[in-house]
Amino acid sequence: MDETRPTLILDGVSKSFGDFRAVSDLSLQVRRGRIFGLIGPNGAGKTTTIRMIVNITVPDSGRIDLFGQPMSTALMDRIGYLPEERGLYKNMRVGEQLRFFAELKDVKGKEADARIDKWLARLQLTDWKQRKTKDLSKGMQQKVQFITSVIHEPDLLILDEPFSGLDPVNVEIMKDTILEQKSANKTIILSTHQMEIAESLCDDVCMINRSRKVLDGKLREIRRSFSRNAVALRFEGHDGLLRDPELVTNVRQVGDDLEVLLVPGMSPQTLLKRLIDADTVVTKFELVEPTLHDIFIAKVKETA
């Protein structure tokens, strides 16, 4: 496969349900071997977008290209999908359940069994293989569901809210697993409304709100472009220089820290030097990058 070619291209995709416009004119590109965050509040159109990518629903207009081909049923086996709403057969044993979903993706026999055992061990579920699914806790069921989405080693993995309902320990396990998939050069689309999670995992993001794309690009670049030139500061000593209007535009208390907003164009280095020159003891000095949440809010206000 051509390394430079995007794994997935959406070009002007729209979808309506009756009078309700779920996705309007959405274009995006997902590159290979990266984690792509599809973020936005509930009801923004994330799930509809994903359903079109996995070929459950067909767009009203626009084009979807996957692995360099137009979307088709033949490509379905190369996609792994963890839907937002978890669905497992409650009365099936975990092992049989995984076996069935493996067969649905055309993985069979010994190969399927080996992969199932490997994944159960990886996610600490081996002891539960012979138990009925309904006996498992929600978190465990979620891990089983995750296995169903990776059992066929898909090239594109689509995870819709993969962390909901997981305890902190399992969130870490899940994060590690996702990063492992990334290092195996798989492409991952992560849909979530939890901005912090997207921040900690994604390479690229696409923000959507009310069916429309608000912003997309590399996460690092987005954050840099939204940088407000702010510093989180903790120090002991005279604070007179913070009132210098040539240096600082605003100061506010954030927890134990002071958040200092510098005059545009002023380097944070200058502030640090001035603080040291003023004989203060600096205990914390950190550039504040805007959170995705902040960026999202700002962007939504801007477009509204």
Partner: protein
């Protein structure tokens, strides 16, 4: 295609292994047997001892005859039950099975009460008191002008007991007839000769095979079996579809395969479960009758063609109803809603079953014809016709053609509705919406 088999396999194995399947397979025949036998048993038990009747004979010459007829009423019952006939459970002392109604043993203990100078009203009051205190079950007053058409009077504790009432009525009628003949100068012996009753022995038109009751039970049993199996396995399909929709498993399924093979896999998987169960029952039935061969029990023999038609109409019936159930399941949001929506379907099936009673009586009436052409009735009604009195081949073929056409049409529609319906959450689909899906798909 491989995925289709994966669906069939899952559906089949999960169900056949379930506790419900094992229980239903074992208990099914027991329950069916109980349905056929228990009502008969109940009648027997309730009838208890002999019915105690007092007779006030104001004619002064009828008591003997009425008492004799009441006694013979009893004997007739015994007589016909001794006749060996197909399903003959009532030959041994414990079985009472099949022949409900006609020969319930109602023996009568009769006593004569004379006026002895008292007024009729006094005697009536006296007897009514005895009935009330349960040392008598009823009494008959034969008025003085009975022979000239005056009506007798029958009072009983249980006026709802129609069997006793009709027996009393018949006995009085027969006694009256003989008495009238006697009074017109015909001698006793002649009267007896003139009153010898007949017993009908029903054979089919060719006179070859004596069907009679055993055939009735066979037809009834096959109709009941189709009715129950289609209902049961149709409901399974409904429940399975709703489960996949409610738990959103559908989403993963649809992201792995197309809707049509998925739906077909489900329908066929469940049908194989049903066939497995029927096969177990058939084998059990056949080995049971082989084991019984030569003993005093005989089960009705089933002609091989009946097996064939049963299988054919069961499958057609199943696919007709199960497809509709699958559609309903994909339209609703909860199991309860599914139950409500499925009610009209169940009603159709119930109607077909009840129609079969009428059809057993007259299998070639216009009602029977039309009922066996209507695709939602035909699986039961046509089978009933075929087994009772085989209709012309063209009718069978026509009904099969209509049935197969219906199944194909329903599946074509269902595939369109299924895909959209299964992914629609939150609210129930309306009929106009569904019609739009069919047009647009």
């Amino acid at each position: 295609m491989k995925k289709f088999f994966a669906v069939v396999k899952r559906e089949y194995i999960q169900r056949v292994r379930s506790r419900f399947f094992v229980m239903a397979t074992i208990l099914g025949p027991i329950l069916m047997f109980a349905f056929a036998v228990v009502p008969g048993l109940m009648f027997r038990i309730n009838s208890g001892g002999p019915t105690r009747l007092a007779i006030v004979d104001q004619t002064g010459r009828m008591y003997e005859r009425v008492a004799k007829e009441l006694a013979s009423e009893n004997r007739f019952g015994e007589k016909s039950s001794e006749k060996p006939e197909g399903l003959s459970f009532n030959r041994d002392s414990t079985g009472r099975a099949s022949q409900t109604g006609r020969n319930i043993k109602t023996s009568f203990a009769v006593e004569e009460v004379r006026l002895n100078g008292r007024s009729l009203d006094e005697v009536r009051k006296d007897l009514a008191a005895r009935v009330a205190s349960k040392n008598l079950d009823g009494f008959i007053v034969l008025p003085p002008d009975l022979l000239n058409g005056e009506q007798p009077e029958f009072r009983a504790r249980n006026t709802a007991d129609l069997f006793t009432k009709s027996k009393v009525e018949n006995s009085i009628n027969r006694a009256l007839r003989s008495q009238r003949m006697f009074e017109n100068g015909i001698d006793e012996k002649q009267i007896e000769r003139m009153s010898v009753p007949v017993t009908l022995d029903a054979k089919d038109a060719g006179g070859v095979e004596s069907k009679g009751e055993s055939s009735f039970y066979l037809v009834f049993g096959l109709g009941l079996l189709i009715y129950i199996s289609v209902l049961l396995y149709g409901q399974f399909v409904l429940a399975a579809v709703i489960e996949e929709k409610e738990t959103r498993i559908a989403e993963i399924l649809f992201s792995s395969m197309r809707a049509f093979p998925l739906m077909m896999g489900k329908l066929i998987g469940v049908s194989l479960v049903a066939l497995t169960q029927l096969a177990i029952w058939a084998i059990a039935f056949l080995s049971f009758s082989a084991w019984l061969a030569g003993s005093s029990f005989t089960l009705p023999s089933i002609p091989p063609s009946a097996f064939f038609y049963f299988l054919l109409y069961f499958l057609l019936g199943y696919f007709t109803y199960a497809t509709v159930y699958a559609v309903v399941g994909s339209m609703v949001t909860t199991t309860q809603e599914g139950g409500q929506f499925a009610l009209p379907i169940v009603m159709l099936l119930v109607m077909a079953f009840y129609l079969s009673f009428n059809i057993i009586r007259s299998p070639n009436s216009p009602v029977a014809f039309w009922a066996s052409m209507f695709p939602f009735f035909a699986p039961i009604t046509m089978l009933v016709r075929i087994v009772t009195e085989r209709p012309p081949l063209w009718q069978i073929l026509l009904s099969l053609g209509i049935e197969i056409g219906t199944v194909i049409g329903l599946m074509w529609m269902a595939a369109r509705i299924y895909r959209v319906g299964m992914l629609m959450y939150g609210k129930r689909a309306t009929i106009p919406e569904v019609l739009r899906w069919i047009r647009q798909a």
